[in-house]
Symmetry: C2
Amino acid sequence: MEPDPSGASPGRVRDREATRQRILDSARELFTSEGYSQVSSRRIAAHAGVNVALINRYFGAKRGLLAEVIAEDAVFPGIVEGDPAALPRRLAEHIATRARGEGTPLQRALERSAADPDLQSVHQERVRAAIIEPLTAVLGGDDARLRASMVTAFVLGLGAVKRVEGATALAGHDPDDLVARLTRIIACCLEPGG
Amino acid sequence: MEPDPSGASPGRVRDREATRQRILDSARELFTSEGYSQVSSRRIAAHAGVNVALINRYFGAKRGLLAEVIAEDAVFPGIVEGDPAALPRRLAEHIATRARGEGTPLQRALERSAADPDLQSVHQERVRAAIIEPLTAVLGGDDARLRASMVTAFVLGLGAVKRVEGATALAGHDPDDLVARLTRIIACCLEPGG
DNA sequence: GGTATAAGTAAACAGTGTTGACTTGTCAAG
DNA sequence: CTTGACAAGTCAACACTGTTTACTTATACC
């Protein structure tokens, strides 16, 4: 079942960086196809043809491995840049696309297990750094952070609902209607003042 | 540290229902003060002065125990009932109150560990049964479910953001402003048509 | 009083992430 | 060419987890 029958013999050359990368690759592959908590450290190590202890040696803990895998993944590739007025539309289209089941395979996989204590704290850092902060910066104004939080809430919540209702809940509608709806709501989240 | 020095002696009377309740009480108490995944089955059992195996005998698994504890907790106590037009306002006020750090102690505790696969799956069932379904029913119309999903997304997402940003992110604003904002966004989520 | 039946228990299972002591390959200096 | 140092890699154990099986024991009925 575990691949890597070749090249993983105990007598391979000792290359720190190559081994590190091999672990990282195995982790990404397994996390992507099976989720985070479903994959044990020992399985990742076996898949990489490497001893379990190396995971902790190179990444501190399983959680560190996850953090590094997630860090490679782009969340909102350059969506906050560009005309702020059209931001709701851009965001809506991006979300609608992801709602149809597309989006990074890793993201899809992690959405399934998006709840581990490990995953959560890593996710928190990422949400703040990759969504809230850029949004706040691009918005400007006293209540920029609050408005950014509202949008972020909606975006994150859609992921949660998708998990509860199944992908069809959002994807089973007319794409244009969905985009229009999302655009309207996001714009509403962004509106300044009480 | 673990209380219950009295009344938990091995020679106590054998009362299935009383024992069940004792486990349930211990679980609620520990979950509330420390979160879900931080409390092990053995600790719950010890606290209840009972053998670990009884947890699985009476609740199937630790997850079942959690489900029963959560089920006792009211999510939206009768908010969907009443005038549908004022629903956004009622919901907004409820959320704003919870945003200030109030809300069930259990809810606050579980929000911290709100990531465990167990907790998540139990939560999913609860979100559907206690939020999405009633909302869908009260809304009516072709896209009732979709509109309910939008509101649910926003509500759940606010919880997630609160976890990321800390409670102050939402609570550190003028209450009236916050309620007005939330009301507007929720109303927007509920609007029919694309 | 004896006995069936349920309540409760002890001990083990199979798994997890993690750690420290150990071995071994590699590469540079003598 | 050999030797020695240091990093890379390994092994076995630790301290847990939730869960199950086989067992003991108290209670209630005949």
